[in-house]
Structure formats: structure tokens, C-alpha cells
Symmetry: C2
């Protein structure tokens, strides 16, 4: 049975998460939410933890950033498969007493603000979830995203083919660089806004690009774990290799951040060599960075000198 | 990026969670799972935390019971709305080092055994989820269930009408009584089996009854929070009252456990007074316990003496 504080929290979220018209027939308030899928569409589902101390820190991340990032993690998985979001579900556990303190209430409100802000911007209704008292001192969140894609048309990470060209969206390494700055000077970021360019605090999942790629790409994955790690996942699942031309990497930061820095929430994808890709989609640059090979090795070329690209995905440093 | 132990855990779960034919087109392994809804069916979604120290204790609950109960929570929500399960998603965070110790690995295997045992028994494929290191010392799980029901035919808690008869499935109070015994003598229960009658350790969600009730009931809710609390929810959402005849309550235990003991995972439902209900569905007794009233009060009658039934749902005593 939820405690009074939890019931108030559920009521407050329920009041703010009004059900817009769309696939969602019944939102917060019953044992389940009810969705009506579009005819000839499949449903895509992803879940992601956002745990204090692992995925965010209260002394570093503004509450709105923690809420935004919580939803962004799931939205980016939908983007990677070319799906359109239709509903989100938030499970949120708060340490005992959190809602009895003004600072705690303010944090939770900020978290919900950040989450609902991105939900609104991306047309994602918050349709349900769960609340509980957390057993320890950490705030615990788990986000579930449901998306929709035309039947059988979603993108996979397992369908890249030797000879395909390899592309990436956006600019790489920015999230890892901003995290480093945040860890050194958290106060500088306390008034950051989602409308500014904050690749770590307020990543923008590539939903429009993902949906566009359904007819252009042969395979796709998001690079939340870093380019080197997620390229290894794509190659393993597709049973192929790849060679990247280091000089083509779209980056402002150091090369190791572009290759291994995680959480850029950009898309890595492949397309037939004959497919003509636009230079930008929705204003975001699309960069040709390499080629898929039959040889299972993953290589990076510096001025023609090829060396193995060892997956070294960003380890959470929180 | 998942740690090596997490990757091994994901691989082990993936190997065991073979995808059966059905709505699930793509299970564990990509950014999202993909489901193909049946034509003219809606999708129902529910999420529930299972947090160590709140919903289970490692020193009381056998690991298989914790896993079984984790899935049962979500299945019971589907049952309450008359849905058939089509996929489950498990988010599981383990304290650092859990998988490096034999006892930790054994616990996690037992948990997955219990969860997959009930998944198999109910035809629920485990289709994905997330893993993480937990920030504290507690095991953290969150379960997501997706179900399917013929379009617009799911049951709600908000549609009971004055004059409807009130029914409950099964026997009440057994889960609370077993929890009390468990807290006093946990070792007695260490070899309990899901095939025996263990209303607390191995509750059986009323999926078949829920699906049958789609054509018989006017409203339904599960009584995971206890009869008195969930009856209050049903009455609040339906804007009605109710009167219960205490003498009719199906119970072996004390009346207060039947009324307020939680986690029986039975269904409370209403039907038109003219609807003929079977005495049992799938071997489980169906008991007429009262009537829905226009007056918003919730009353209980002892030999004609009516008193208010105050919601006093079982507080988690873990």
C-alpha cells in the first residue's frame, strides 16, 4: 500500500500527465494502462534504470537533468530502431522521508519537470508506473518506453552487411567532455536549460532521424555506451567487421572521447554503398565514417595505418 | 557499459529465455523488443517494483519465491483487467560484487528460476529488460508486463454501478498469515515449492479467471493491497459505495487478515445482479460477499449491524 506521500505524488503526476489523443486509451489510475496499436504497426519496448550514484548524482546533476536523462535513455533506444514513442512508464522509489523535506519535494518536482518537459517535446505521454519507498539512501528510477513502427519495418543492429557504408549522427564526445566539466564545477551547471546545447545534461534523442532511417539504413544502434563499444555490438550481432577512418570522425573534443566517450545518444548506422544519404537530417549532421567488412576485425585507420579499435566504452564514473 | 559479470548474466538469461511463437517477434538482444499485437486487440501495460527490504528479504524469502513474486505482481494486474500476458521485461540491479560470490550467483540463479518458472507456467516470454550495479546493498528489481485483450473489452476498476453484486476469488488472508509464519520461522520455508499452496511465497495470479470475467463482470481490481484498501479504490474510481456481509467472507484465517491482509493476489469484481456466476472458475471459488451502493460509504455488516469498513491495507512489515 503506498504511503500518504506516495499517494500525493501519484496524484500530482497524474494531474500533470494528461492523456493526449493517440495510441493511449487509458493512462494512470487503473491496474494497467491501455494502448490501441495502429493497424499494421508493431510495438517496440525498452526499459532502462536511472539509479542515483550510477546514472546521476544529486550533487552534480540538476534534478531536471536527471529526469530528462531518465526519459532520454529509453527514447534513444526507440530512435535506434526507427520507432515513434507512444507511451512512457516511470517507476520511482524515494528514500524514506524524501517527500517530508522541502529539498526532497523540490528535487522530485524538478525531476518530474525535466522528464515531462522532454515527454512533451517528443509527444510521449506518461501513462503509468509505480512508486515505492527506496530501501536505502538512493533515488531509484526505471523508465519503460513503448514505441510504434510500421509492421516489420523497424531497424535492427544485426542486419549490417559487408560493403555497407558506416555513418554516425551529430558530433561525438560532447557528453563525456561535459560530464568531466560537470564533475569539476557542478555549480556552473546548476541553472542549465534543456533548450541550450548540453550533450550530457540534456541529450536530444534522435527520434526524427531514426524514423527517417527506416527507409535508408540497413542496420542501426544508439551509441549510449560509446562508439567503440556499440560498434562492437553491431558487428557482433551482424557477424561482420568494420573499418573506421579516424580523420572523418565528427568531433570537437579529443579523439578518445569521440571513440570511447559514452552517452552521446547519437545513432550509428549502416546503409548500402549505393544509397545516397543527406548531409543533414533535421539539422543534425550525418557523417560517413567507415565501411562494414567481411573480416570480423574492427579497425581504425590513421592516415592509412590500420590498428584494432578496442571497445573501451565509457565506464560510469559517478 | 555493463560489467563482465552483467554481460554474463544477460547472456545466461538470454539463453534461457527462448522466444516462443506468439506476439513476441524479437526478444532480448537489440535496443528494443518487438511485439506484433493481434488484430483488433489492445495492449495493456503495468510496472511493479520488487525491492529488497520493501517487497522481499533475502533472510526470509527463498530466492525462487522472490523471483516468482516479482513476476506475479505484474501478472495479477493483467488478470484484474482481463488481459492475457504477451511479454515481461525485467530490470535487475545487483549490489557490487554480488556475482563474484558463489552465494550471490546462487541467489540470482534462484531468483531467475522462480521468475522463469512462473513465466513458463503462464505462457509469458521474458523479452528484455536492463541490468545495472545497484548503488547500495539491496537487490533492486522492476518488472514490466505487457498483455493483450480484445479491443475495448478490458475490465476497469471505475465501472461498478449501484446494485451490482460484489464478488471475490479464492480464500482471503492466507498470504498475510503465511508472511507472519515466515517472519517467525524463515528456515521452515526454505524448501517450499511453487506447486504447493503458498499464498505468500508463491501466489497464483488469477489470469484465467480475469479473462473469463471480461464477459461476466462490470468492474474488477486485484486485491494486492488488501480487500478493504482495494475496495476503497474501486469505489472511489467508480464513485459508488459498498456493503459487505462479514459472514460471507471466504476465509480460514482471522477476519482482520481477510479484510486487511494484503498480497492475496485474488480478484475483487462486480457483476450485474442478474448475471449468473459459476461457483468456481478453474477450480477457484467465486464468492458473493456484498453489494455496490449509490451511497458513497463502505460498510461491513455483522449480523445486520452495519459499521464503516476503514481501509487498512497491509503495511509492508519487511
Amino acid at each position: 500500500m503506498p504511503h500518504t506521500g506516495e499517494l500525493d505524488l501519484i496524484r500530482s503526476i497524474r494531474a500533470r500527465a494528461a492523456t493526449p489523443p493517440g495510441a493511449l486509451r487509458l493512462g494512470i489510475g487503473d491496474d494497467c494502462a491501455v494502448l490501441r496499436p495502429l493497424a499494421n504497426h508493431d510495438i517496440l519496448v525498452t526499459t532502462d534504470f536511472s539509479l542515483e550514484g550510477r546514472h546521476f548524482r544529486r550533487d552534480w546533476h540538476p534534478a531536471a537533468s536527471a529526469g530528462h536523462r531518465c526519459l532520454a535513455r529509453g527514447l534513444s533506444d526507440l530512435a535506434a530502431m526507427g520507432a515513434k514513442p507512444i507511451a512512457a512508464f516511470l517507476s520511482l522509489a524515494l528514500p524514506a522521508g524524501t517527500l517530508r523535506k522541502a529539498a526532497g519535494r523540490q528535487w522530485v518536482e524538478g525531476f518530474i519537470d525535466g522528464l515531462l518537459g522532454l515527454a512533451k517535446a517528443t509527444g510521449t505521454p506518461l501513462a503509468g508506473g509505480d512508486t515505492s519507498t527506496a530501501p536505502g539512501d538512493h533515488i531509484l528510477a526505471d523508465i519503460v518506453l513503448l514505441g510504434s513502427a510500421p509492421r516489420g519495418k523497424e531497424l535492427h543492429r544485426s542486419t549490417a552487411y559487408p560493403g555497407d557504408a558506416l555513418y554516425v549522427t551529430g558530433i561525438l564526445g560532447g557528453a563525456a567532455a561535459e560530464l568531466e566539466a560537470l564533475s569539476n564545477h557542478p555549480k556552473r551547471f546548476s541553472r542549465s536549460s534543456p533548450t541550450d546545447n548540453h550533450p550530457h545534461l540534456y541529450p536530444q534523442p534522435r527520434l526524427a532521424i531514426g524514423q527517417r532511417l527506416r527507409t535508408l539504413a540497413t542496420a542501426a544502434i544508439d551509441i549510449s555506451d560509446g562508439l567503440s563499444t556499440d560498434l562492437a555490438h553491431l558487428c557482433e550481432e551482424s557477424n561482420v567487421g568494420a573499418i573506421i577512418d579516424a580523420a572523418t570522425l565528427p568531433r570537437i573534443e579529443a579523439e578518445h572521447l569521440a571513440l570511447h566517450g559514452g552517452e552521446d545518444y547519437e545513432l550509428l548506422f549502416t546503409a548500402k554503398a549505393s544509397t545516397k544519404l543527406p548531409k543533414r537530417i533535421g539539422g543534425i549532421p550525418i557523417t560517413h565514417i567507415g565501411t562494414i567488412t567481411k573480416n570480423r576485425a574492427i579497425l581504425i585507420s590513421h592516415s592509412g595505418n590500420e590498428t584494432p579499435l578496442v571497445p573501451a566504452g565509457w565506464e560510469h564514473q559517478l
